[in-house]
Structures are given as structure tokens and as C-alpha cells.
């Protein structure tokens, strides 16, 4: 039986057959790219003012709640209003060029547009206040911001990461007076950790892993 196709033609057919496969790979890659956050873990995000958590938290020892005022009462931790920044910076480093946007904001009445670092999908409803009130320390999600000159997200906030803690909160929570502490946590024995869980009246893991706890 004579060959239907020349050798070069066979190659062409093979190449053509490869096109759908290539398209599929492209599609998957595209979808993956589409669903990932613009901010990758470990990548610094530029901000209108080069704000250093390391300086404010680590060097100056300012409590998280001084700026993130509603973290204990509201779903949102609250970004500091220009007025809060100026409560110190109306005196300190007044003429620093880096703070020009701050004074401009106060004069024009226009807010400073910070770039979001932690961005959850719109179908997830995270509430800061309940986590903070139940012993989840700031550092457990946001990392050692006292060592970050530029804020960097440690890991992707994916569902598995949330569930790790929701399935077994014991050992991951801290006494309420250490909520904003960065490094110095008291070492708890197993019994003490168990007592902490009881005193904080955490809901059982069945409730904590219900879909309706985070998705509405």
C-alpha cells in the first residue's frame, strides 16, 4: 500500500494535531493567571507613601489598633484616616518629602489611595472583629509586619489555609491580651491551650467549617 502522505506532510499533520493541545495548555494557563491575585505572595506592593510597618511597629512600638481602629468592632480593620497619620506627623517629619501626599490629602480633602495587599475573593466574607475577639493574633495572618519595611503578604489566603485553623483552632490562638503582640507569646501547655479554647468559647469545628460561616 503506497504511503498517503509524504514524510514532511506527516510532520505537518502532527504539528496541526498539536495545536488543540497547545490551545488547551494556553487556556489552562490563562484561567490560572486570571484567577490568581495580582499580588503574589512575597512580592512587595508599591504604595503612594512608602510606609514602613517595621519603623512604626517594630522601632516605635505603636500598637496595631492605634491606626487600624475598628479591628475589634467591625468586619473591616479600618485603614487609618489621614487625620490619624497627622496626629503625629503634624509635628514629626513635617517637611519630609515622602509625606507630601499626606499633607496634600488633608488640604484637598481627597483620600490617599493605598494599594490593597490582602484581597479576598468577593464571595468570602471575612470579619476582623470576631477573629481578634476569639484570640487570633494579627501576626497569624499578617506575619511579622514589625520586620517588614514594605508590607509583603506571606502566603496566598486560600481556603485550605483558612480551614487549617477553622478545623483545629486550639494551639493557634493566643490570650486576648497578646492579640497585637508580634513575637513574644507565652508558651502554653496542652492543658492551658485547652482552657484558653474554653474560656474564649470558640464554636465547635463543625460550625466553624460550615460553608455559611464564610460564604453568603
Amino acid at each position: 500500500m503506497p504511503q498517503l502522505l509524504e514524510r514532511s506532510e506527516v510532520l505537518l499533520v502532527k504539528l496541526i494535531l498539536l495545536v488543540p493541545v497547545g490551545l488547551l495548555v494556553l487556556t489552562v494557563a490563562g484561567m490560572f493567571w486570571r484567577t490568581t491575585s495580582p499580588v503574589e505572595p512575597g512580592v512587595a506592593v508599591s504604595q503612594p507613601i512608602s510606609f514602613s510597618h517595621k519603623h512604626h511597629v517594630g522601632d516605635d512600638g505603636i500598637d496595631c489598633r492605634y491606626c487600624h481602629t475598628t479591628v475589634e468592632t467591625s468586619a473591616s480593620a479600618g485603614m487609618p484616616a489621614t487625620g490619624i497619620c497627622l496626629s503625629c506627623h503634624s509635628q514629626l517629619f513635617r517637611d519630609a518629602p515622602a509625606l507630601a501626599p499626606l499633607h496634600e490629602s488633608m488640604q484637598s480633602g481627597k483620600p490617599i489611595a493605598w494599594n490593597r495587599v490582602y484581597d479576598l475573593p468577593d464571595f468570602v466574607f471575612f470579619n476582623h472583629s470576631i477573629h481578634v475577639n476569639k484570640g487570633v493574633a494579627c501576626v497569624s495572618c499578617h506575619g511579622r509586619v514589625d520586620q517588614m519595611p514594605v508590607l509583603v503578604r506571606r502566603q496566598a489566603p486560600d481556603m485550605q489555609w483558612c480551614l487549617d485553623c477553622h478545623r483545629d483552632p486550639s494551639g493557634r490562638i493566643v490570650p486576648l491580651d497578646h492579640i497585637t503582640a508580634m513575637g513574644s507569646f507565652p508558651a502554653l501547655s496542652d492543658a492551658q491551650a485547652e482552657r484558653l479554647v474554653q474560656s474564649l468559647r470558640l464554636e465547635d469545628s463543625r460550625r466553624l467549617t460550615d460553608c455559611s460561616t464564610c460564604h453568603r
Binding site: G78, T82, I84, P111, R216
Partner: protein
């Protein structure tokens, strides 16, 4: 609009596939390439904190403001929920007497009108965009001319006005121009009732019903619970009386099924002409002086005896409420019957409408008022407004040179016979102010965009006279102006805008020298949403002799052979056309017809048979002298009176916005006036037109089909237990709950079918509007739908709010291949949007058909839709199933608050959106695991049952059976 365009794409798809294998492969390759390259990453988000944080504000936490919305000029108190400064939801104000915590569909839908991008944005001079200052110049020139003639050629036309400040301003304008006059046009109101009340009392008066004190209510075609300034209050009060002992009764004579008839113990379908005769008969049997005894040729119907006996047995505790369709004569007869039975001052409080005091009188009486009565603007004599008819007569005579119209649209919504547009074209200088550039705006020289009630300062009085402030919850989105500013221009008073004007009025009225005291009282009024210590209008007494002295007018001529009686009714969604561009109200199924986005001429089955008509047949309706004509599709309504055509008003808009334009027919064309009043009822001729019109209807089958979705118990029967037998065996896994177990009951005896819950749900849960084409395909999105059932043809009707039943043995859960619908630990049947892949198996397996699928990206992505969305609820995308969640976001909120305080959730802390807004408290939600919760007590009632219990789905939503008072209705009543 995206949703209208989207189906068209769908219809082109088969052509491509039919083109053959090659084309198919091309399409596949193209779509694969598109999927890979056409997408984008989620946008990088910005965070914009406040420059100076307002006190007590936290981003993401809602702030509620008490304000007032206007229904035909009268105030209804509401609480507006704002999220970061954006108004997103409206709830009732429990302190305000016209709301008592509930809000009707129209009040709640005001949010959508506020954000409507089609609202008017710029001052228009004819067809040309202009500016506010150009208008000011032009107007002041015109007014200077008018001032030369004492304002003889100046006329002011507004809707009904209850705002004390606006009334005072009208008084100022009339003082500056003594020759001018003020006219009021109220298309949704009842001219006949107003005419009679004015003749009886010598001034505009409205009857305020106190149905909570009533034992018997006779509604004669009255829409007591419909969309109006007192509908919510009436519904609340009547249900309170009905839960009392002895149970209050509703007797309804109706031309077409209405909300009163749905809950009536005795219901009779009558044409308005027969109702007048019935009222005469009731009056003569009760021995009302000066009653005309009708010739009783026919056999006396048993229901008439029953009605008379029940009214007679409850003197001073009954109400005879006449409706819009009745003639002035019948309204007068109703006043006489009520006076004879001693109802005035008891269940009916005649309340004087506030009028602008004439400035000279106001100066004299200012001292007396401050010292004594203190009643704001309640002068014994005031400037009574003229009617639209008088205005049109003056316009025809050429007496009007300047016409200012505030928030009215008479070119569209005045009777066709009046030809307002023709009269308006003769006016040299006309100004229109309104939310939309509507029909009247197009016919005027100038148009001013008006600020929405939620955008501007003002004040208002409710029907019973309670004063309240209107405070803006957002700055004007589209540059609208307040009517107070226009009135200040007319009166030539210079003030710093509406805020200062309203404050100045109240500061003056309260006569408070001390600024601190005033600020305190002002803040208190704003915070509470009512002004305390402001007496309601004085109760008026009706002199019995004055009542008898009124000569009854001639009876309306009965329609001749071959003619039908047309009754013009307010649409239950868009009322008289004011809400026409509101998509929520357009898509709200009308209670009895379930028609959306359209109106139809409603006929009884008998009348339709006589003319050989089916649903959707188009007929030609013409006035008896053939001067006016229109084409309208018909819809057959069981339980309607024979020989009556119901024509809902408010549709057929020519200029209103994309959602209203061209929908339905304009019934005003056929409307006529008599003795200066717009007629709500007149004879007309009907001819089949050999056309069909497709109406978008949400419920096609209303029979019970041998099942018992709605159940009835007899008040008299001792054996009134409809509870099912013990639990049946089941293959579903048993479920245990150690904390809360949420559940709901719906009291069918209290449900009036008003649709308030459906809109509350839509606003709370970001439910998109899908448009008539999608509705016609059965793709409704309302999580809360109000089913209607007829018991036999034209027999008793029953509404049934139907949302996800949250079954314990949920058939939807077992068929979902991806676990997108799950049971949670508190018994909720949750829908997880991010898991859903859109197989629609769950919807197929749901026996209650309460799941709704996003066939397209229904959720608008325009900025205004995003602005009023509830940030606590996911906006669903295409391909996702959705349904009632029991307002899981509200449960979450309550749980988090309780957890933070280290306690459990209290009973009544979680209130679902539908429960919160129900005017009759028919819906109760709570924890069934707590035996003392309201819902547990409700479920313990012998009337408690579940729908389709035989399927053993064990729903968490149960219903309380309707109670039927068999003693109220003799055998021949429909009731």
C-alpha cells in the same frame, strides 16, 4: 440593556452549528483561544480611607438614618441603611405612625429610583440643555412681568402637599402674587372622595381609618391595603383587630379581586353601579336618615342581610370604606352610614389637610399659635388649592401666562378628555420640575431636574398629621434641586437652600430663642424620624344636619346594552405612573394576574366568554362617543364582576426611561371628567381587534389540583388541627442540632399578598431584574414569590409567600454533583456560589420550585447597580444557582455580635428582610431549638402545617392555616 440583548445572541447560536463540521471546529478553536486570552486578572483594588473619619462610623458597618418618604405628598417614616455613605436599603420606622416598622414595596423600591441613571440631570430649555443661572434670569424676568399684574397670570401646579415648610412657601408666593393661584393634581387619589369631603367640611379633609378599633370593616371597592400613604398602617391595624377577641371581620364588595377581598370573611363581586345600589340598600335598612330606598325588584340577596346585621351589631366599631371607583353620591352615602353608626371619631377620624395660611392671617395668629395651639400651619382658614380642571379651564381662556409645575406630570396622567397637552401649548412660559424628563417636561419651556426625597431636605406630615423631617442620606447624585429652592425663587426670598429654609421654618414655629435648645430638639427630631409634641390635626366633627342637607347627586347612568363599565385602578406596582421606571416594581408580579412589565384590561370569565376572548387577545376599547380609543390585551381574572373592564393606570409611557417606555397601554386616554372630577368609572365599548399580545406572567396554574398547598380551618370548628401525623421513615441521614435550628412560619391568615416582602428580599439579597423576555421564559429570579390559589372558579383566593423551605431532607442536596448545596450545622440549606457549576439538577429536583438560575449575567455591572448592592451578599454571576438563604448574612451578623459578647443569639435578634417589612407580621423567624422562641410558639399552633408534607421533605418553613369565619358569610357570598 444587557439582559435584553443577551437572549438575541443565544438565538444566533444554532445557525453556526448548522453550518457544518468545519464551522463548528472553527468556533471551538476560536472560543478556546478566547477563553485563554480574552480574560483579565481580577483588578488591583485601591483602599481609600477617610481624610477625617466621621464620628461613630466604621467602614463596612451600616448606619441607619431616619427620614420620610412621600406617598402622594404624605409622609411615611423610614429608616435608610447606608453603607460607607451609600444608601442601600430602606426599612420601616417603628416610631412613625404611618410605618410602625413596616415599609411597602414602593417605599423600599425608592432606593432603585434614587440610583436610577436615567433620572433627569440637566436643566433643559425646550430641547436644548441649559443652565440653572439661565433659568434664574429667564424666570425672574417673567416674574417681574407677573408682579406688574399682581400675578394674575401665574399658576402653580403641584401634587398633594403636606410639607409644612412648602405650604408656608406657597403662602409666601401667593402673598407676593395675590392674583396667582395654586392647584393640586393627584392622579393616584380619588377626586370624588375629595369633592365630597370638601363639601361636607368646607375644606380638604381625609378620613383616617383606625382599623385597630374596628370589629367590622365593609370595603366597598376600597384598596385599603394598597400602595398609598396609609396602606401599611391600615394593614397593620386591621390584622391587630383580627387577632383580637372577638375577631374582626372584613366584608368586601369588589369589582375586581383586591387585597381586601383576599382576606375577606365575606366577599361579593359587584360592578360599581351595583355597589351604589347596595350602599343605598344598606343605608335604608340601617335607617340612615335621608337614605334613598332603592326599588327592590330582585330577590334580596342573603349577603346584604348579613352585611347589615354585622354593621348594626358593631355600632361605633365598624368602618364603611368607599373606594376610588364609586361616584361622589356613594361617597356621601358612606359618610352618612358611618355617621349614623357612630363611627366618626371612633374608627374614622376626619382629619383636616394642612393648607398654606394666608400671610396676613399668619401674622395675626402667630402669637396665638405659639402660646396656645402650637399646631403647625393648621389655620382655620387657609388657601384651599384649586383643581386641575379649574386650571385647564383658565389655561383655555388664556388667563394663564406663567405655569410652574412641581413634581407632576399632567400631560401623561390627566384624563384624556381634559387634553392638558393642548391647553399647555397655549401657555407662553411654563416650567416643569421633576425626577425625570417626562411627557410634561418635553411639552414645557423649561425643565428642572428635581432632587430625590433621599437627596434633599424637607419635611412632611403623615395622613394622621404627624410631622417628620426629610433628611438627605446622600448629596444629589445628578445635580437635582429641591422644590423649596424653586419656591424661594418664586417668593423672591433669599435663603441658603432647602436645609436652612426647613430649619428656619421649625425654629420659627417652635419659637425657640435659645439656639442650643433648638439644636437639641432638631437633632432629636432627626434621630427619631418624627417630631414629638407636634399635635396631629384637630379631629373634625361632622354636623348631622349638614350631612343630611347635602342633595344626593344623580346616579351614574348604567351602561347600555353592549357597553361595559370601565374602572380605572392604580397599578399595584407602579401606582399611577410615578414609579414607572423602577425595574423592581415593573417586574413585581401583580397580586392576582401575576403579570409583570405590562398591564392588561382585566375581564371576568363570563364577560370574556361572551366576547369570545382568551388571555392575551387584543381588544379595541373606545369611549361611548368614540372620541377616544385604545388597543389593549385582555386578561381573565376569576372573581371579577361581570360587565366590568379593569384598566390599570401608569403604563404606556411616552417619555420616562428605558424601563417604562412603550410598556403596556395608557388608560388615561379613555378617562373622562365630570363636575370637575376625574372619573374612575365610566361606560365604554369593547371590540375584538384580531391581534394577540404576549404578556410576561409568572404563575400560570392557580388551581389547587387536588393537593393542599394552602389549608383552611374553621373558626367555629372545634376540630381545627391540620398538623400532620408523626414523622415518616426516611432514607435521608438523620440530623442533629446542638445549637440553633433556624425555622420560619408564615401565617396565611395574616398574609394580604401586598408584595412588600418580595421587594424587601430583592433589595436585601441583590436579586437582579431579568426583564420581560426572560420572565416569559419562566426565568424569574424573585427568591420570595407570592403564589396565588383559587378555590374553584371565582371562589376564595389565598396568597402564599413561597421561598426556599430549607428542607431537613432536602431533595436538592443529594443530586448536586459538586456539593454546592449543603446542610449547615444550624439546619440551613446553604447554596455555595463558588462551588456551583450550574448543572441545575437541584432545581429539577426541588418540589417547591424555589431555586433560580442565572442564565445570563443578570446582575448589572453598571456603577449604579454596584452602588446600591448590599455589600454583605455575594453578587451572583452567570451559571450559578441561587435561592432564599434565610438571610444568612443577618444570622452571621447576629452571631458575630453575640459571640463577641460571649452569649448566645437572643430570640428576635435575627430578623429576616421579609419578616422585618411585613406590615401584618405574618412572617416569624427564629430558633426552633428554643421552645420559648416566637417561632417555636408559632409552630406549636394547631394551624401549623408544611407544604407537600407527603413528600417527607420536612421543610423548616411551615405555614399557619387560614381561618375561615363561617358565620360571617351566608351561602350565596363568594367569600
Amino acid at each position: 440593556m444587557r439582559r435584553v440583548v443577551a437572549p438575541a445572541i443565544n438565538t444566533t447560536m444554532p445557525a453556526g452549528v448548522d453550518g457544518g463540521r468545519r464551522r463548528m471546529l472553527k468556533l471551538m478553536a476560536a472560543s478556546a483561544a478566547l477563553a485563554g486570552s480574552g480574560c483579565s486578572q481580577p483588578p488591583a483594588e485601591k483602599i481609600r480611607p477617610y481624610v477625617n473619619m466621621p464620628e461613630g462610623m466604621a467602614p463596612g458597618d451600616p448606619v441607619f438614618y431616619a427620614t420620610t418618604l412621600l406617598h402622594e405628598g404624605h409622609g411615611v417614616g423610614v429608616l435608610v441603611e447606608t453603607e460607607s455613605g451609600r444608601p442601600v436599603k430602606i426599612e420601616g420606622n417603628p416610631i412613625h405612625p404611618a410605618s410602625l416598622g413596616a415599609a411597602d414595596a414602593q417605599s423600599q423600591a425608592a432606593i432603585l429610583t434614587l440610583w436610577d441613571p436615567e433620572r433627569s440631570r440637566i436643566v433643559m430649555h425646550g430641547a436644548q440643555p441649559s443652565t440653572w443661572s439661565a433659568l434664574l434670569d429667564s424666570l425672574s424676568t417673567q416674574l417681574r412681568e407677573e408682579a406688574g399684574t399682581q400675578g394674575k397670570g401665574l399658576r402653580l401646579l403641584s401634587g398633594p402637599v403636606s410639607s409644612p415648610t412648602l405650604l408656608a412657601q406657597i403662602g409666601e408666593v401667593l402673598a407676593r402674587f395675590p392674583g396667582a393661584s395654586w392647584h393640586v393634581h393627584d392622579p393616584a387619589g380619588c377626586d370624588a372622595a375629595a369633592q365630597v369631603a370638601r363639601r361636607l367640611f368646607g375644606r380638604p379633609v381625609r378620613p383616617v381609618y383606625r382599623l385597630d378599633r374596628a370589629r367590622t370593616v365593609l370595603s366597598v371597592d376600597a384598596d385599603l391595603f394598597g400602595p398609598s400613604a396609609d396602606g401599611v398602617r391600615n394593614a397593620h391595624d386591621f390584622m391587630q383587630a383580627r387577632r383580637g377577641e372577638p375577631r374582626a371581620r372584613m366584608l368586601a364588595l369588589e369589582s375586581t379581586p383586591g387585597l381586601c377581598g383576599a382576606i375577606a370573611d365575606l366577599r361579593v363581586a359587584l360592578s360599581p353601579a351595583d355597589m351604589e345600589a347596595a350602599l343605598d340598600a344598606v343605608a335604608s335598612r340601617l335607617g340612615v336618615p335621608a337614605a334613598v330606598s332603592p326599588q327592590e325588584t330582585e330577590a334580596r340577596p342573603a349577603w346584604l342581610d348579613s352585611v347589615c346585621a354585622q354593621l348594626r351589631s358593631t355600632p361605633g366599631a365598624c368602618v364603611v370604606a368607599p373606594g376610588h371607583s364609586l361616584s361622589p353620591r356613594a361617597h356621601l352615602m358612606a359618610w352618612r352610614i358611618n355617621a349614623h353608626l357612630g363611627n366618626l371619631g371612633q374608627t374614622i377620624i376626619p382629619t383636616a389637610q394642612q393648607l398654606p395660611t394666608e400671610p396676613r392671617l399668619a401674622l395675626q395668629s402667630a402669637g396665638a399659635e405659639a402660646a396656645g395651639t402650637g399646631a403647625a400651619g393648621i389655620g382655620t382658614s387657609g388657601v384651599s388649592p384649586g383643581t386641575l380642571n379649574e386650571l385647564v379651564d383658565a389655561m383655555r381662556d388664556g388667563a394663564v401666562r406663567t405655569l410652574i409645575m412641581l413634581d407632576v406630570n399632567p400631560v401623561y396622567d390627566s384624563p384624556g378628555a381634559l387634553d392638558f397637552a393642548g391647553a399647555l401649548s397655549k401657555i407662553p412660559f411654563s416650567v416643569h420640575m421633576g425626577l425625570y424628563r417626562d411627557e410634561t417636561a418635553h411639552a414645557c419651556d423649561w425643565h428642572i431636574p428635581m432632587a430625590h426625597e433621599l437627596e434633599a431636605w424637607s419635611d412632611a406630615r403623615s395622613i394622621d398629621g404627624t410631622a417628620s423631617l426629610i433628611q438627605p442620606v446622600i448629596a444629589p447624585l445628578y445635580g437635582g434641586r429641591s422644590p423649596h429652592e424653586v419656591m424661594d425663587m418664586l417668593a423672591d426670598t433669599r435663603t441658603a437652600g432647602a436645609h436652612e429654609r426647613v430649619r428656619a421654618f421649625w425654629r420659627n414655629l417652635w419659637d425657640m430663642e435659645d439656639a442650643h435648645d433648638f439644636e437639641q430638639r432638631w437633632d432629636e427630631a432627626l434621630r427619631r424620624g418624627v417630631i414629638d409634641g407636634e399635635p396631629a390635626g384637630p379631629a373634625l366633627n361632622l354636623d348631622a344636619r349638614a350631612l343630611a342637607a347635602q342633595v344626593p347627586e344623580e346616579i351614574e347612568p348604567a351602561p347600555e346594552e353592549g357597553e361595559l363599565l370601565a374602572v380605572f385602578v392604580n397599578d399595584s406596582g407602579i401606582v399611577a405612573g410615578r414609579h414607572a421606571n423602577n425595574a423592581w416594581l415593573q417586574e413585581l408580579p401583580r397580586p392576582y394576574t401575576k403579570i409583570t412589565w405590562d398591564n392588561a384590561a382585566l375581564l371576568s370569565p363570563g364577560t370574556a366568554r361572551r366576547h369570545a376572548l382568551r388571555n392575551g387577545d387584543v381588544v379595541s376599547l373606545s369611549s361611548t362617543d368614540a372620541s377616544a380609543k385604545l388597543l389593549a390585551p385582555i386578561w381573565i381574572v376569576p372573581g371579577q364582576a361581570d360587565g366590568v373592564v379593569i384598566l390599570p393606570l401608569g403604563f404606556g409611557r411616552r417619555h420616562a426611561g428605558a424601563k417604562a417606555q412603550g410598556r403596556g397601554f395608557d388608560a388615561y386616554v379613555l378617562q373622562d371628567t365630570r363636575n370637575g372630577a376625574a372619573r374612575r368609572c365610566l361606560p365604554l365599548c369593547l371590540q375584538p381587534a384580531d391581534q394577540r399580545h404576549a404578556l410576561a406572567v409568572t404563575q400560570h396554574e392557580m388551581g389547587l389540583a387536588g393537593r393542599e398547598p394552602v389549608r383552611i380551618v374553621s373558626l367555629q370548628s372545634s376540630n381545627a388541627d391540620v398538623r400532620g401525623s408523626a414523622a415518616q421513615p426516611s432514607l435521608y441521614p438523620p440530623r442533629e442540632y446542638d445549637s440553633h435550628a433556624w425555622g420560619m412560619t408564615v401565617d396565611l391568615d395574616a398574609c394580604i399578598g401586598c408584595n412588600a416582602c418580595a421587594i424587601a428580599c430583592q433589595a436585601e439579597n441583590n436579586i437582579p431584574v431579568v426583564g420581560p423576555e426572560e420572565i416569559a421564559r419562566g426565568r424569574t429570579m424573585h427568591w420570595m414569590r407570592i403564589d396565588l390559589y383559587h378555590e374553584g372558579d371565582g371562589g376564595r383566593t389565598q396568597f402564599q409567600p413561597m421561598a426556599c423551605q430549607h428542607c431537613e431532607n432536602a431533595p436538592c442536596e443529594v443530586v448536586c454533583p459538586v456539593g454546592a448545596t449543603m446542610h449547615d450545622s444550624e439546619g440551613l440549606n446553604v447554596q455555595v456560589y463558588n462551588r456551583c457549576v450550574g448543572t441545575r439538577f437541584c432545581s429539577n429536583n426541588c418540589p417547591y420550585k424555589v431555586r433560580h438560575f442565572n442564565f445570563f449575567d443578570y446582575a448589572d455591572h453598571d456603577p449604579s447597580a454596584a452602588a446600591h448592592a448590599n455589600p454583605d451578599v455575594t453578587v451572583r454571576q452567570r451559571g450559578v444557582m441561587e435561592k432564599c438563604t434565610y438571610c444568612v448574612q443577618r444570622i452571621s451578623h447576629a452571631r458575630i455580635e453575640a459571640q463577641k459578647q460571649g452569649r448566645t443569639i437572643r430570640d428576635g435578634e435575627v430578623v429576616t428582610a421579609c419578616e422585618a417589612t411585613c406590615p401584618t407580621q405574618a412572617i416569624v423567624f427564629g430558633d426552633t431549638a428554643d421552645p420559648h422562641s416566637r417561632v417555636s410558639r408559632s409552630k406549636a399552633s394547631p394551624r401549623n402545617y408544611t407544604v407537600l408534607a407527603e413528600l417527607n421533605t420536612r421543610p423548616r418553613t411551615s405555614y399557619l392555616a387560614r381561618i375561615v369565619d363561617r358565620e360571617a358569610a351566608p351561602e350565596d357570598g363568594d367569600g
